[in-house]
Protein backbone atom coordinates (compact mmCIF):
# COMPACT_ATOMS: atom_id res chain seq x y z
CA UNK A 1 0.00 0.00 0.00
CA UNK A 2 1.67 3.22 -1.06
CA UNK A 3 0.82 6.43 0.74
CA UNK A 4 -0.22 9.30 -1.52
CA UNK A 5 2.45 11.90 -2.22
CA UNK A 6 1.59 14.96 -0.18
CA UNK A 7 4.35 17.00 -1.77
CA UNK A 8 5.42 16.49 -5.36
CA UNK A 9 8.39 18.35 -6.75
CA UNK A 10 9.04 17.89 -10.45
CA UNK A 11 12.00 19.28 -12.40
CA UNK A 12 12.21 22.46 -10.35
CA UNK A 13 14.80 24.98 -11.46
CA UNK A 14 15.58 27.94 -9.21
CA UNK A 15 18.17 30.53 -10.06
CA UNK A 16 19.94 33.37 -8.28
CA UNK A 17 20.37 35.81 -11.12
CA UNK A 18 22.06 33.77 -13.77
CA UNK A 19 23.32 31.03 -11.47
CA UNK A 20 21.04 28.02 -11.28
CA UNK A 21 21.12 26.61 -7.76
CA UNK A 22 18.47 23.98 -8.53
CA UNK A 23 19.02 22.36 -11.89
CA UNK A 24 15.89 20.25 -12.15
CA UNK A 25 15.00 18.68 -8.82
CA UNK A 26 12.37 15.97 -8.57
CA UNK A 27 11.22 14.24 -5.42
CA UNK A 28 8.10 13.15 -3.58
CA UNK A 29 7.15 13.27 0.06
CA UNK A 30 4.53 10.72 1.02
CA UNK A 31 1.83 11.73 3.46
CA UNK A 32 2.41 10.70 7.06
CA UNK A 33 6.10 9.96 6.54
CA UNK A 34 9.41 11.52 7.45
CA UNK A 35 11.53 12.22 4.39
CA UNK A 36 15.13 13.31 4.75
CA UNK A 37 17.18 15.24 2.21
CA UNK A 38 20.92 14.83 2.54
CA UNK A 39 23.72 16.57 0.74
CA UNK A 40 26.89 18.60 1.08
CA UNK A 41 27.00 22.35 1.65
CA UNK A 42 26.05 24.29 -1.41
CA UNK A 43 24.04 21.44 -2.92
CA UNK A 44 20.92 23.55 -2.99
CA UNK A 45 19.01 22.03 -0.11
CA UNK A 46 18.12 25.31 1.54
CA UNK A 47 17.29 26.80 -1.85
CA UNK A 48 14.81 23.96 -2.35
CA UNK A 49 13.21 24.57 1.02
CA UNK A 50 12.91 28.31 0.36
CA UNK A 51 11.40 27.59 -3.05
CA UNK A 52 8.71 25.34 -1.62
CA UNK A 53 8.01 27.87 1.14
CA UNK A 54 7.49 30.61 -1.42
CA UNK A 55 10.41 32.85 -0.54
CA UNK A 56 12.08 32.00 -3.85
CA UNK A 57 10.31 31.67 -7.14
CA UNK A 58 11.16 28.69 -9.34
CA UNK A 59 12.13 29.43 -12.90
CA UNK A 60 10.64 26.18 -14.12
CA UNK A 61 9.07 23.06 -12.78
CA UNK A 62 6.09 22.00 -10.73
CA UNK A 63 5.45 21.93 -7.02
CA UNK A 64 2.23 20.30 -5.91
CA UNK A 65 0.94 20.14 -2.38
CA UNK A 66 -2.00 17.85 -1.78
CA UNK A 67 -2.78 17.96 -5.47
CA UNK A 68 -2.75 21.75 -5.84
CA UNK A 69 0.05 23.58 -7.61
CA UNK A 70 1.82 25.94 -5.23
CA UNK A 71 4.84 26.85 -7.35
CA UNK A 72 5.40 30.58 -7.34
CA UNK A 73 2.94 31.19 -4.51
CA UNK A 74 3.87 33.80 -1.97
CA UNK A 75 4.71 32.56 1.54
CA UNK A 76 1.41 33.62 3.09
CA UNK A 77 -0.61 31.43 0.73
CA UNK A 78 1.76 28.52 1.24
CA UNK A 79 1.44 28.74 5.02
CA UNK A 80 -2.31 29.12 4.79
CA UNK A 81 -2.39 25.94 2.71
CA UNK A 82 -0.64 24.02 5.48
CA UNK A 83 3.09 24.08 4.78
CA UNK A 84 5.45 25.57 7.37
CA UNK A 85 9.23 25.86 7.28
CA UNK A 86 11.52 25.81 10.31
CA UNK A 87 14.44 27.71 8.82
CA UNK A 88 18.13 26.97 9.01
CA UNK A 89 19.66 28.54 12.11
CA UNK A 90 16.23 28.64 13.68
CA UNK A 91 15.80 32.40 13.22
CA UNK A 92 13.81 32.96 16.37
CA UNK A 93 12.76 36.53 17.08
CA UNK A 94 15.52 37.21 19.57
CA UNK A 95 14.12 40.46 20.97
CA UNK A 96 10.67 39.03 21.51
CA UNK A 97 9.48 36.81 24.30
CA UNK A 98 9.02 33.08 23.83
CA UNK A 99 5.28 33.58 24.10
CA UNK A 100 5.29 36.31 21.46
CA UNK A 101 7.34 34.08 19.19
CA UNK A 102 4.74 31.35 19.48
CA UNK A 103 1.84 33.72 18.92
CA UNK A 104 3.63 35.10 15.88
CA UNK A 105 3.55 31.60 14.47
CA UNK A 106 -0.23 31.77 14.47
CA UNK A 107 -0.21 35.08 12.57
CA UNK A 108 -2.44 33.93 9.72
CA UNK A 109 -5.03 32.28 11.92
CA UNK A 110 -8.25 33.98 12.87
CA UNK A 111 -9.55 31.53 15.46
CA UNK A 112 -8.47 33.27 18.66
CA UNK A 113 -9.69 30.67 21.13
CA UNK A 114 -8.03 27.81 19.32
CA UNK A 115 -4.78 29.75 19.08
CA UNK A 116 -4.57 29.99 22.84
CA UNK A 117 -5.48 26.34 23.23
CA UNK A 118 -2.65 25.47 20.88
CA UNK A 119 -0.33 27.73 22.84
CA UNK A 120 -1.15 25.77 25.97
CA UNK A 121 -0.56 22.50 24.11
CA UNK A 122 2.86 23.73 22.98
CA UNK A 123 3.76 24.49 26.60
CA UNK A 124 2.74 20.98 27.57
CA UNK A 125 4.71 19.39 24.81
CA UNK A 126 7.74 21.63 25.40
CA UNK A 127 7.76 22.34 29.15
CA UNK A 128 11.01 24.26 28.88
CA UNK A 129 9.23 26.85 26.79
CA UNK A 130 6.63 27.38 29.47
CA UNK A 131 9.35 28.03 32.00
CA UNK A 132 10.84 30.63 29.74
CA UNK A 133 7.64 32.04 28.34
CA UNK A 134 8.39 35.66 29.18
CA UNK A 135 12.08 35.56 28.41
CA UNK A 136 13.55 37.00 25.26
CA UNK A 137 14.12 34.22 22.77
CA UNK A 138 17.67 35.34 22.24
CA UNK A 139 18.57 34.26 25.76
CA UNK A 140 17.58 30.64 25.17
CA UNK A 141 20.09 27.87 24.58
CA UNK A 142 20.53 26.40 21.12
CA UNK A 143 18.36 23.41 21.85
CA UNK A 144 15.62 25.53 23.39
CA UNK A 145 15.67 27.85 20.41
CA UNK A 146 15.28 24.89 18.09
CA UNK A 147 12.29 23.71 20.10
CA UNK A 148 10.87 27.21 19.98
CA UNK A 149 11.34 27.40 16.24
CA UNK A 150 9.57 24.09 15.78
CA UNK A 151 6.76 25.05 18.13
CA UNK A 152 6.38 28.40 16.39
CA UNK A 153 6.01 26.67 13.04
CA UNK A 154 3.53 24.20 14.50
CA UNK A 155 1.32 27.05 15.67
CA UNK A 156 0.10 27.45 12.12
CA UNK A 157 -1.20 23.85 12.24
CA UNK A 158 0.72 22.68 9.21
CA UNK A 159 0.10 19.37 7.53
CA UNK A 160 3.60 19.39 6.15
CA UNK A 161 6.50 20.59 8.26
CA UNK A 162 9.71 21.50 6.45
CA UNK A 163 12.85 21.59 8.59
CA UNK A 164 16.21 22.91 7.49
CA UNK A 165 19.05 21.32 9.42
CA UNK A 166 17.43 21.00 12.83
CA UNK A 167 20.55 19.45 14.38
CA UNK A 168 22.90 22.25 13.32
CA UNK A 169 25.10 23.40 16.17
CA UNK A 170 23.39 21.31 18.83
CA UNK A 171 24.93 18.89 21.31
CA UNK A 172 24.23 15.17 20.70
CA UNK A 173 21.87 14.84 23.64
CA UNK A 174 19.81 17.75 22.44
CA UNK A 175 19.79 16.43 18.90
CA UNK A 176 18.29 13.27 20.29
CA UNK A 177 15.53 15.30 21.95
CA UNK A 178 14.75 17.11 18.74
CA UNK A 179 14.51 13.93 16.73
CA UNK A 180 12.27 12.37 19.34
CA UNK A 181 9.99 15.32 18.81
CA UNK A 182 10.13 14.81 15.06
CA UNK A 183 9.19 11.18 15.49
CA UNK A 184 6.33 12.30 17.71
CA UNK A 185 5.07 14.62 14.98
CA UNK A 186 4.84 11.73 12.58
CA UNK A 187 2.85 9.80 15.15
CA UNK A 188 0.34 12.65 15.22
CA UNK A 189 -0.07 12.60 11.48
CA UNK A 190 2.10 15.57 10.52
CA UNK A 191 4.27 14.89 7.49
CA UNK A 192 7.88 15.97 7.88
CA UNK A 193 10.38 16.82 5.16
CA UNK A 194 13.74 17.62 6.61
CA UNK A 195 17.16 18.60 5.42
CA UNK A 196 20.06 17.22 7.37
CA UNK A 197 23.80 16.89 7.28
CA UNK A 198 23.77 14.53 10.23
CA UNK A 199 22.61 11.43 8.42
CA UNK A 200 23.25 9.10 11.39
CA UNK A 201 20.49 10.49 13.55
CA UNK A 202 18.13 10.72 10.63
CA UNK A 203 18.68 7.03 9.84
CA UNK A 204 16.66 6.01 12.86
CA UNK A 205 13.77 8.26 12.13
CA UNK A 206 13.34 8.81 8.40
CA UNK A 207 11.26 6.62 6.13
CA UNK A 208 12.89 7.74 2.92
CA UNK A 209 16.09 9.45 1.90
CA UNK A 210 17.05 11.67 -0.99
CA UNK A 211 20.55 12.83 -1.71
CA UNK A 212 21.12 16.12 -3.44
CA UNK A 213 24.38 17.14 -5.06
CA UNK A 214 25.05 20.24 -7.12
CA UNK A 215 21.44 21.14 -7.67
CA UNK A 216 20.14 17.68 -8.57
CA UNK A 217 18.84 14.60 -6.81
CA UNK A 218 21.45 11.89 -7.14
CA UNK A 219 20.04 9.12 -4.96
CA UNK A 220 16.79 8.06 -3.39
CA UNK A 221 15.93 5.11 -1.25
CA UNK A 222 15.07 3.60 2.10
CA UNK A 223 17.36 3.90 5.11
CA UNK A 224 18.55 0.36 4.45
CA UNK A 225 19.46 1.14 0.86
CA UNK A 226 21.25 4.27 2.01
CA UNK A 227 23.33 2.43 4.57
CA UNK A 228 24.31 -0.22 2.04
CA UNK A 229 25.70 2.18 -0.53
CA UNK A 230 29.48 2.31 0.00
CA UNK A 231 30.12 5.75 -1.40
CA UNK A 232 27.30 7.39 0.47
CA UNK A 233 28.11 5.62 3.68
CA UNK A 234 31.63 6.91 3.64
CA UNK A 235 30.63 10.41 2.67
CA UNK A 236 27.68 10.98 4.94
CA UNK A 237 27.66 8.31 7.61
CA UNK A 238 31.31 7.48 8.28
CA UNK A 239 32.60 10.98 8.58
CA UNK A 240 29.74 12.35 10.56
CA UNK A 241 30.81 11.35 13.99
CA UNK A 242 30.66 14.55 15.92
CA UNK A 243 27.62 16.35 14.67
CA UNK A 244 27.91 19.41 16.84
CA UNK A 245 31.27 20.44 15.47
CA UNK A 246 29.80 21.24 12.07
Amino acid sequence: MSAAALLEIADVVTAYGRIEALKGVSLNVAAGTITCLLGPNGAGKTTLMLTVAGILRPKRGAIRFDGASIAGWLPDRVVARGVALVPENRLVFAQMSVRDNLLAGAYLRKDREAIFTDLERMYQRFPRLRERAQQHAGTLSGGEQQMLAVARALMSRPRLLLMDEPSLGLAPLVVGDIFRIIAGLKAEGTTVFLVEQNARVALDVADRFYLMEQGRVSFQGTPGELAQDEVIRRAYLGSVRRPHSA
Binding site: I55, V79, A94, L103, Y107
Partner: protein, 300 residues
Protein backbone atom coordinates in the same frame (compact mmCIF):
# COMPACT_ATOMS: atom_id res chain seq x y z
CA UNK B 1 14.02 77.69 43.35
CA UNK B 2 10.56 78.44 42.05
CA UNK B 3 12.18 79.32 38.74
CA UNK B 4 13.85 75.94 38.60
CA UNK B 5 10.57 74.15 39.19
CA UNK B 6 8.68 76.31 36.71
CA UNK B 7 11.40 75.76 34.15
CA UNK B 8 11.30 72.06 34.70
CA UNK B 9 7.56 72.05 34.28
CA UNK B 10 7.77 74.11 31.12
CA UNK B 11 10.55 71.84 29.96
CA UNK B 12 8.39 68.78 30.43
CA UNK B 13 5.64 70.39 28.45
CA UNK B 14 7.76 71.33 25.47
CA UNK B 15 9.54 68.01 25.92
CA UNK B 16 6.29 66.20 25.40
CA UNK B 17 6.06 67.64 21.89
CA UNK B 18 9.56 66.36 21.27
CA UNK B 19 8.49 63.02 22.70
CA UNK B 20 5.64 62.79 20.22
CA UNK B 21 7.97 63.57 17.35
CA UNK B 22 10.46 61.01 18.59
CA UNK B 23 7.74 58.37 18.93
CA UNK B 24 6.85 58.72 15.29
CA UNK B 25 10.48 58.59 14.25
CA UNK B 26 11.04 55.51 16.35
CA UNK B 27 8.19 53.67 14.71
CA UNK B 28 9.70 53.96 11.27
CA UNK B 29 13.29 53.65 12.37
CA UNK B 30 12.43 50.73 14.59
CA UNK B 31 10.73 48.93 11.74
CA UNK B 32 12.93 49.92 8.88
CA UNK B 33 16.30 50.53 10.44
CA UNK B 34 16.43 53.34 7.92
CA UNK B 35 16.16 56.99 8.64
CA UNK B 36 13.23 58.87 7.16
CA UNK B 37 14.54 62.38 6.68
CA UNK B 38 11.23 63.47 5.24
CA UNK B 39 9.43 62.86 8.50
CA UNK B 40 9.31 66.50 9.59
CA UNK B 41 8.33 67.55 6.10
CA UNK B 42 5.35 65.19 6.05
CA UNK B 43 4.19 66.73 9.31
CA UNK B 44 4.61 70.17 7.78
CA UNK B 45 2.61 69.12 4.74
CA UNK B 46 -0.27 68.09 6.97
CA UNK B 47 -0.17 71.18 9.15
CA UNK B 48 0.03 73.45 6.11
CA UNK B 49 -2.99 71.72 4.64
CA UNK B 50 -4.87 72.37 7.84
CA UNK B 51 -3.71 75.98 7.85
CA UNK B 52 -4.75 76.48 4.25
CA UNK B 53 -8.23 75.13 4.98
CA UNK B 54 -8.47 77.36 8.03
CA UNK B 55 -7.42 80.47 6.13
CA UNK B 56 -8.84 79.96 2.68
CA UNK B 57 -11.85 77.80 3.33
CA UNK B 58 -12.90 79.10 6.71
CA UNK B 59 -12.54 75.68 8.26
CA UNK B 60 -12.94 75.31 11.96
CA UNK B 61 -10.22 74.02 14.22
CA UNK B 62 -11.62 70.49 14.16
CA UNK B 63 -11.56 70.27 10.36
CA UNK B 64 -8.14 71.85 10.23
CA UNK B 65 -6.96 69.34 12.79
CA UNK B 66 -8.29 66.35 10.92
CA UNK B 67 -6.82 67.70 7.71
CA UNK B 68 -3.45 68.14 9.43
CA UNK B 69 -3.32 64.54 10.57
CA UNK B 70 -4.80 63.20 7.35
CA UNK B 71 -2.46 65.25 5.23
CA UNK B 72 0.50 63.98 7.20
CA UNK B 73 -0.64 60.39 6.66
CA UNK B 74 -0.98 60.91 2.92
CA UNK B 75 2.42 62.57 2.73
CA UNK B 76 3.91 59.76 4.82
CA UNK B 77 2.52 57.11 2.49
CA UNK B 78 3.88 59.05 -0.48
CA UNK B 79 7.34 58.96 1.07
CA UNK B 80 7.04 55.27 1.84
CA UNK B 81 6.03 54.40 -1.72
CA UNK B 82 8.71 56.50 -3.36
CA UNK B 83 11.68 56.23 -1.03
CA UNK B 84 11.41 52.99 0.88
CA UNK B 85 9.24 50.43 -0.88
CA UNK B 86 11.18 50.32 -4.14
CA UNK B 87 14.61 50.11 -2.54
CA UNK B 88 16.04 46.98 -1.01
CA UNK B 89 17.24 46.61 2.55
CA UNK B 90 20.79 47.10 1.44
CA UNK B 91 20.11 50.44 -0.20
CA UNK B 92 19.60 52.18 3.13
CA UNK B 93 21.68 55.18 2.14
CA UNK B 94 19.76 55.63 -1.08
CA UNK B 95 16.47 55.52 0.83
CA UNK B 96 17.73 58.16 3.18
CA UNK B 97 18.93 60.50 0.47
CA UNK B 98 15.74 59.88 -1.46
CA UNK B 99 13.73 60.86 1.60
CA UNK B 100 15.82 64.01 1.80
CA UNK B 101 14.92 64.78 -1.81
CA UNK B 102 11.26 64.35 -1.01
CA UNK B 103 11.69 66.55 2.06
CA UNK B 104 12.82 69.31 -0.27
CA UNK B 105 9.89 68.56 -2.56
CA UNK B 106 7.30 68.72 0.17
CA UNK B 107 8.78 71.82 1.70
CA UNK B 108 8.76 73.70 -1.56
CA UNK B 109 5.22 72.60 -2.31
CA UNK B 110 4.09 73.82 1.10
CA UNK B 111 5.83 77.15 0.63
CA UNK B 112 4.31 77.62 -2.78
CA UNK B 113 0.89 77.21 -1.25
CA UNK B 114 1.58 79.48 1.70
CA UNK B 115 4.64 81.65 1.03
CA UNK B 116 4.74 83.96 4.02
CA UNK B 117 6.97 83.61 7.04
CA UNK B 118 4.17 82.96 9.46
CA UNK B 119 0.53 82.12 9.48
CA UNK B 120 -1.97 81.99 12.31
CA UNK B 121 -3.35 78.67 13.45
CA UNK B 122 -6.43 78.29 15.63
CA UNK B 123 -6.10 77.27 19.22
CA UNK B 124 -7.50 73.99 20.43
CA UNK B 125 -8.15 75.01 23.97
CA UNK B 126 -8.57 78.41 25.40
CA UNK B 127 -8.51 79.62 28.92
CA UNK B 128 -6.31 81.01 31.60
CA UNK B 129 -3.28 79.05 32.66
CA UNK B 130 -3.82 76.88 35.69
CA UNK B 131 -2.25 78.26 38.76
CA UNK B 132 -0.64 75.87 41.23
CA UNK B 133 0.52 78.26 43.88
CA UNK B 134 3.31 80.30 42.32
CA UNK B 135 3.57 77.98 39.31
CA UNK B 136 1.68 78.38 36.07
CA UNK B 137 0.60 75.61 33.72
CA UNK B 138 -0.73 76.55 30.33
CA UNK B 139 -3.68 74.45 29.27
CA UNK B 140 -2.24 73.83 25.81
CA UNK B 141 0.89 72.48 27.41
CA UNK B 142 -1.09 70.16 29.61
CA UNK B 143 -2.88 68.89 26.53
CA UNK B 144 0.47 68.26 24.90
CA UNK B 145 1.82 66.37 27.86
CA UNK B 146 -1.35 64.36 28.23
CA UNK B 147 -1.29 63.49 24.55
CA UNK B 148 2.32 62.42 24.63
CA UNK B 149 1.67 60.11 27.54
CA UNK B 150 -1.55 58.77 26.05
CA UNK B 151 -0.06 58.17 22.62
CA UNK B 152 3.08 56.66 24.10
CA UNK B 153 0.98 54.27 26.14
CA UNK B 154 -1.24 53.56 23.15
CA UNK B 155 1.68 52.75 20.90
CA UNK B 156 3.14 50.53 23.58
CA UNK B 157 -0.14 48.67 23.79
CA UNK B 158 -0.37 48.30 20.03
CA UNK B 159 3.18 47.04 19.74
CA UNK B 160 3.11 44.66 22.66
CA UNK B 161 -0.41 43.31 22.72
CA UNK B 162 -1.86 43.32 19.26
CA UNK B 163 -1.35 41.00 16.34
CA UNK B 164 -0.28 43.96 14.21
CA UNK B 165 2.27 45.12 16.75
CA UNK B 166 3.66 41.65 17.15
CA UNK B 167 4.06 41.33 13.40
CA UNK B 168 5.78 44.70 13.23
CA UNK B 169 8.27 43.67 15.89
CA UNK B 170 8.79 40.32 14.24
CA UNK B 171 9.56 41.86 10.88
CA UNK B 172 12.08 44.19 12.49
CA UNK B 173 13.64 41.33 14.39
CA UNK B 174 14.05 38.94 11.50
CA UNK B 175 12.40 39.68 8.22
CA UNK B 176 12.96 36.25 6.68
CA UNK B 177 11.51 34.35 9.62
CA UNK B 178 8.57 36.75 9.62
CA UNK B 179 7.89 36.15 5.95
CA UNK B 180 8.03 32.40 6.54
CA UNK B 181 5.16 32.83 8.97
CA UNK B 182 3.11 34.53 6.32
CA UNK B 183 3.73 38.15 7.27
CA UNK B 184 3.83 40.58 4.39
CA UNK B 185 6.72 42.97 4.82
CA UNK B 186 5.49 45.49 2.27
CA UNK B 187 2.00 45.87 3.67
CA UNK B 188 3.31 46.01 7.20
CA UNK B 189 5.76 48.75 6.33
CA UNK B 190 3.02 50.85 4.80
CA UNK B 191 0.92 50.58 7.90
CA UNK B 192 3.89 51.41 10.13
CA UNK B 193 4.56 54.51 8.08
CA UNK B 194 0.93 55.54 8.19
CA UNK B 195 0.85 55.10 11.95
CA UNK B 196 4.09 57.04 12.39
CA UNK B 197 2.78 59.79 10.15
CA UNK B 198 -0.43 59.96 12.14
CA UNK B 199 1.52 60.34 15.37
CA UNK B 200 3.64 63.01 13.74
CA UNK B 201 0.56 64.75 12.42
CA UNK B 202 -0.90 64.89 15.91
CA UNK B 203 2.40 66.25 17.18
CA UNK B 204 2.41 68.91 14.50
CA UNK B 205 -1.19 69.82 15.16
CA UNK B 206 -0.62 70.20 18.89
CA UNK B 207 2.46 72.32 18.32
CA UNK B 208 0.63 74.53 15.86
CA UNK B 209 -2.30 75.05 18.19
CA UNK B 210 -0.02 75.75 21.12
CA UNK B 211 2.09 78.30 19.32
CA UNK B 212 -0.98 79.44 17.40
CA UNK B 213 1.22 79.97 14.44
CA UNK B 214 2.85 78.02 11.68
CA UNK B 215 6.16 78.76 10.02
CA UNK B 216 8.15 77.24 7.15
CA UNK B 217 10.79 76.12 9.65
CA UNK B 218 8.41 73.49 11.01
CA UNK B 219 9.72 70.68 8.82
CA UNK B 220 13.37 71.12 9.68
CA UNK B 221 12.59 71.79 13.32
CA UNK B 222 10.44 68.69 13.72
CA UNK B 223 13.02 66.47 12.03
CA UNK B 224 15.92 67.70 14.14
CA UNK B 225 14.07 67.68 17.44
CA UNK B 226 12.59 64.27 16.82
CA UNK B 227 15.95 62.87 15.80
CA UNK B 228 17.81 64.31 18.79
CA UNK B 229 15.16 63.14 21.24
CA UNK B 230 15.13 59.68 19.75
CA UNK B 231 18.90 59.34 19.95
CA UNK B 232 19.05 60.62 23.51
CA UNK B 233 16.44 58.16 24.59
CA UNK B 234 17.89 55.22 22.78
CA UNK B 235 17.27 54.19 19.22
CA UNK B 236 14.30 51.95 18.69
CA UNK B 237 12.83 52.22 22.15
CA UNK B 238 9.40 53.74 22.70
CA UNK B 239 10.15 54.42 26.33
CA UNK B 240 13.38 56.01 25.16
CA UNK B 241 11.53 58.28 22.76
CA UNK B 242 9.36 59.67 25.52
CA UNK B 243 12.20 59.91 28.01
CA UNK B 244 14.54 61.47 25.48
CA UNK B 245 11.96 64.01 24.47
CA UNK B 246 11.22 65.05 28.02
CA UNK B 247 14.91 65.20 28.88
CA UNK B 248 15.62 67.36 25.86
CA UNK B 249 12.78 69.70 26.76
CA UNK B 250 13.92 70.15 30.33
CA UNK B 251 17.58 70.68 29.41
CA UNK B 252 16.64 73.19 26.73
CA UNK B 253 14.32 75.18 28.95
CA UNK B 254 16.89 75.49 31.70
CA UNK B 255 19.60 76.41 29.21
CA UNK B 256 17.39 79.08 27.71
CA UNK B 257 16.56 80.51 31.10
CA UNK B 258 20.17 80.93 32.09
CA UNK B 259 21.87 81.57 28.77
CA UNK B 260 19.33 82.64 26.19
CA UNK B 261 17.76 81.01 23.13
CA UNK B 262 20.88 80.51 21.02
CA UNK B 263 22.76 78.75 23.74
CA UNK B 264 19.69 76.64 24.28
CA UNK B 265 20.11 75.00 20.89
CA UNK B 266 23.85 74.74 21.33
CA UNK B 267 23.39 72.91 24.60
CA UNK B 268 20.98 70.47 22.98
CA UNK B 269 23.48 69.52 20.28
CA UNK B 270 26.40 69.34 22.68
CA UNK B 271 24.32 67.10 24.91
CA UNK B 272 23.57 64.83 22.00
CA UNK B 273 27.18 64.76 20.86
CA UNK B 274 28.38 63.97 24.35
CA UNK B 275 25.73 61.29 24.71
CA UNK B 276 26.83 59.66 21.48
CA UNK B 277 30.50 59.88 22.34
CA UNK B 278 30.04 58.38 25.78
CA UNK B 279 26.89 56.27 25.76
CA UNK B 280 25.53 55.91 22.26
CA UNK B 281 22.75 53.59 23.31
CA UNK B 282 21.10 56.49 25.07
CA UNK B 283 18.84 56.16 28.05
CA UNK B 284 16.99 53.02 27.10
CA UNK B 285 18.76 51.58 24.12
CA UNK B 286 20.39 48.15 24.22
CA UNK B 287 23.70 48.26 26.04
CA UNK B 288 26.64 48.29 23.70
CA UNK B 289 24.36 49.18 20.86
CA UNK B 290 25.80 51.88 18.67
CA UNK B 291 29.41 50.84 18.70
CA UNK B 292 31.09 48.77 16.03
CA UNK B 293 31.89 45.29 17.30
CA UNK B 294 35.64 44.84 17.76
CA UNK B 295 37.38 43.64 14.61
CA UNK B 296 37.07 39.92 14.16
CA UNK B 297 34.18 39.50 16.58
CA UNK B 298 31.30 37.32 15.42
CA UNK B 299 28.48 39.11 13.73
CA UNK B 300 25.34 39.37 15.84
Amino acid sequence: MIDAVQNTLDGLMIGSSYALLALGFTLTFGVMRRLNLAYGATIMAGVYLGTWLFLEQDAGVATAGIAAVGGAILAGLYVERVCFAPLSERAALASMVSSFAIWMQLEEAAMLALPRHTYPFPALVSGEPLALGPLALRLEHLLMLGSAVAIGAGLYFVLQRTRFGRALRAITDNALAARLLGMGVGAMRMRAFALAAAVGGIAGLLIATTDQQVTPMLGMWATIKGLVAMMLGGLGSLRGAVAGGLLLGVVETHAQWYFGPQVRDLVAFLLLFACLAVRPSGLFGARGGGRHPPAGAAHG
